[in-house]
Amino acid sequence: MMSRARITTEPIEPQALLAGVGDPSRGAVILFLGVVRNHNDGHGVEGIRYDAYDEMARGTLEEILVEAEERYGVGHLAAVHRVGELGIGEVSVAIAVSSAHRAEAFDASRYVIEEIKVRLPVWKKERFEDGTSEWVAGKQPEVSAEGGA
């Protein structure tokens, strides 16, 4: 069985992720997709390269899913982050959640993407239309004394 927390160089297939969280007892399903867009802060973007600390990122993503389950009591989550060269319109991250009720499905989905943004060891470099490229300014992970972010 495919792991529910993945870092991949392959194109993300949202339909497969959705199928993975399906369950007859779950009435609400939410799929969140992050998509490479053609602009950022007024610059025309041609594509993005995502790099990850692969060996750590998979574990961190799994941790985030476990936290979302525990906080919101949702049963089924799956998430995948793509790395490598991505073009405009390609999916960089996908999160699928299913739950008996919609409120916690929304909360869990939101939690996962917010945590990804502040602690998943992934970086991106934008390629602009003028031929230049630049690492996107990110978020400094907050590290607590007990370990973990």
Partner: protein
């Protein structure tokens, strides 16, 4: 003792490499390693003095003690999603 320091994204460009083996005295902390790394070259001095760091794939504070064989990743501000 010896640890392996890993660099990613902009820090990899600053350091001119993805990983280095670094010799440290026993009792050295994450902070000691960063000080040593920043002194490696003029370019390396651009590294922040208190970056996020993961030891063996978990985030750790700058006062965390290191041990022989640790994998210490210096983590630039993250930008996933």
């Amino acid at each position: 003792m010896k640890v392996r320091a890993l660099f990613f994204a902009s820090y990899r460009e600053i350091m001119g490499g993805a990983e280095f083996d670094v010799d440290l005295p026993d009792g050295a902390t994450v902070s000691d390693l960063i000080t040593l790394l920043r002194g490696r070259s003029d370019a390396a001095s651009v590294l922040p003095s208190d970056p996020a760091v993961a030891v063996n794939r978990s985030y750790r504070t700058s006062d965390a003690l290191l041990a022989d064989g640790d994998e210490v990743a210096v983590i630039p501000p993250v930008a996933g999603g």
